[in-house]
């Protein structure tokens, strides 16, 4: 399985409005892949389609070898345990403290003992760069940046093969944003992760992405490494990468 994600001729419609038409792209194993484009171009929608949150109206999509057009409940549950998703604002469960937010999948899907769960949760909190003391706090008591890191720890808890990040650096201060980039690179190298992210952050794009797709006017206008993309003749790309 060389391609962790393969999208072919994806068509998405909201009522009469066509959001995507003939979207073709693939994500290689072990790479950090970006979905870029102007606001409202449907990047987040495309990502939601990849994680089974939204249906597309035409075409086919394969994620980690599972065909999303013909996926049953059982297979879908299996697939969901192999990826991690970080939402834009963390989307932590407000009724659970940070520890339980991270531990919830372990308790639900495995029979691992509480002692080892504590080890795993502590380790994930450590690798995302949070203090161990956040464990007992509730999502409403921590800052936006910490929520993102806790959300990342939760996304990583099952040691996924594939990680989806929705605007991971938005709302972070520049120092935390660069730390987040470094963290993402480190995770990829250490855990053999494939990462798909939606982002607007140019520094983050330059620092982390191996390949990317630019969505504009309902289509993929460019796909490939940053050199290839910058060489493409497109108004959005020209303005977006101006001077880089």
């Amino acid at each position: 399985m060389q391609h962790v994600i393969e999208a072919k001729n994806i068509l998405t419609r909201f009522g009469q409005t066509i959001v995507h038409q003939d979207i073709n792209l693939h994500v290689n194993r072990g790479e950090i892949y970006g979905l870029l484009g102007p606001s409202g171009c449907g990047k987040t929608t495309l990502m939601k389609e990849m994680v089974l949150l939204q249906k597309y109206q035409g075409g086919s999509m394969k994620v980690l070898g599972y065909d999303l057009n013909h996926i049953g409940h059982q297979k879908a549950q299996e697939l969901r345990q192999q990826w991690g998703v970080l939402f834009q604002f963390g989307a932590l469960y407000s009724s659970l403290n940070i520890y339980d937010n991270i531990a919830v999948s372990l308790r639900e899907y495995t029979m691992i003992s509480e002692a080892l769960i504590a080890e795993i949760v502590s380790y994930k909190i450590h690798i995302v760069g949070l203090e161990q003391s956040v464990k007992e706090q509730y999502p409403s008591e921590i800052s936006g940046g910490m929520k993102k890191k806790a959300g990342l720890a939760r996304a990583l808890v099952m040691d996924p093969k594939l990680l989806f990040l929705d605007e991971p650096t938005s709302g972070l201060d520049p120092i935390s944003a660069r730390e987040f980039d470094a963290l993402i690179l480190r995770l990829r190298d250490r855990f053999d992760l494939s990462i798909v992210m939606v982002t607007h952050d140019l520094d983050s794009i330059e620092a982390t992405l191996d390949r990317a797709a630019i969505l504009d006017e309902k289509r993929v206008v460019a796909e490939g490494d940053l050199q290839t993309i910058k060489a493409t003749d497109n108004l959005f790309i020209k303005t977006f990468f101006k001077g880089r």
Binding site: S113, I120, V121
Partner: protein, 370 residues
């Protein structure tokens, strides 16, 4: 995943094959604990992990805890793994933190009661502060009638009262039907059919219609106030209003309270009509009392004061429901869960206070002799 352990002198050789990851380690966790106990006094554990097909940090942490325990028993561990897997193991060994679970801070019964008492006291004080603000805002309304937000009041009237008429009609009609039906059986036995009118007229106008209307409005509109204002608080809309100079009390709170205080008597009037209609239908079917006869008897037997007593409760019930709903909305903290908690509380507290208020009215009117 398969695990084999073999004792060679003072060394235990453990070979693991297959996928050793977060999904599979639970099956060997108790095994390893046993292995550790049974293999003492072995001095060394040799782990052969070269044949693993998948390995992750959860599995590495299992090995780490095993190593830690074995060291405390005076043994050592050695891992043989390919480079990728060795990196994961090294990563979990490199640590500058103490792993721990979370302590369950459950309070004892006395502490729980104490905490609840303090919370109730605090929320009572908050409510007093809210009422204070409300009246100072009302003063602004009265001193500067131009600041009255008529548009907001009309909107609140439509949302919280006019749109509730359908459900009010249905519930009170059914209450009238049920009440008449139950009493008709008793009345028939004594041949006192016509007294259905007295009974229904007095109980519905005086007590039931106001109470049922208040309960429905508390469940429907009071909870909506709490949720709307709670969400506005979370999304910082209230703060935005304050910074732009729009006092939420003038723009959100008072219009809603005024709307319900004005509309509640009318809703009760409407509820009276519907409940009597329900009673009339049953009286006609069950007791053979025609509509004409029903109305004649109603004119004769049910004094006007019963109607006015019922209606007079309206503004008070309206105030209680709206004030509690809005107060609960303002108590929402930056946490989605607290919307649910406060919405529930708004309904429970509003209904409870309405019943208390009704009881007080009952005492007052009785001692006044009406």
């Amino acid at each position: 995943m398969s695990l084999h352990a073999k004792v060679q002198g003072d060394t235990v050789v453990i070979t693991v094959r297959g996928d050793m990851n977060v999904k599979s380690i639970a099956s060997i966790e108790p095994l390893l604990a046993e292995l550790l106990i049974h293999s003492i006094p072995s001095k060394r554990f040799e782990w052969h992990l070269e044949r693993l097909t998948h390995f992750d940090s959860a599995a590495a942490l299992l090995l780490y805890t095993f190593d830690k325990k074995s060291r405390s028993l005076g043994a050592t561990c050695k891992f043989h793994a390919n480079t990728n897997h060795q990196n994961i193991i090294d990563a979990v060994y490199h640590r500058d933190y103490h792993s721990s679970g979370v302590v369950d801070h459950r309070l004892g019964p006395v502490a729980t009661v104490g905490k609840m008492a303090i919370q109730k006291y605090q929320s009572f004080k908050d409510f007093l502060a809210f009422v204070g603000e409300l009246f100072s805002a009302l003063l602004i309304y009265l001193l500067h009638p131009k600041s009255i937000r008529f548009k907001e009041i009309y909107h609140a009237i439509e949302e919280s009262s006019i749109n509730a008429l359908g459900i009010i009609a249905l519930t009170t009609f059914l209450i009238g039907v049920v009440l008449a039906y139950q009493s008709s059986i008793q009345l028939k036995m004594y041949g006192a059919n016509i007294f259905i009118v007295d009974m229904l007229g007095i109980s519905v106008l005086r007590e039931l219609a106001p109470l049922i209307a208040a309960i429905v409005i508390a469940g429907r509109s009071g909870s909506a106030f709490a949720a709307q204002i709670g969400v506005m608080k979370i999304t910082e809309e209230l703060d935005a209003m304050k910074t732009m100079g729009f006092d939420p009390y003038l723009f959100l709170v008072l219009p809603r309270i005024i709307a319900l205080m004005v509309m509640m008597p009318l809703i009760i009037f409407f509820a009276d009509i519907m409940a009597m209609l329900g009673g009339m239908v049953v009286a006609a079917i069950e007791l053979g009392i025609s509509a004409q006869l029903f109305v004649d008897r109603f004119n004769e037997a049910v004094a006007m004061k019963h109607f006015f007593i019922g209606i007079s409760k309206g503004p008070f019930f309206g105030f209680i429901i709206a004030a509690i709903g809005i107060f609960r909305g303002l108590m929402v903290e930056n946490d989605t869960r607290s919307i649910g908690i406060n919405t529930t509380k708004s309904v429970v507290e509003a209904i409870f206070m309405v019943i208390i208020c009704d009881a007080i009215f009952s005492i007052i009117y009785t001692s006044l002799g009406i």
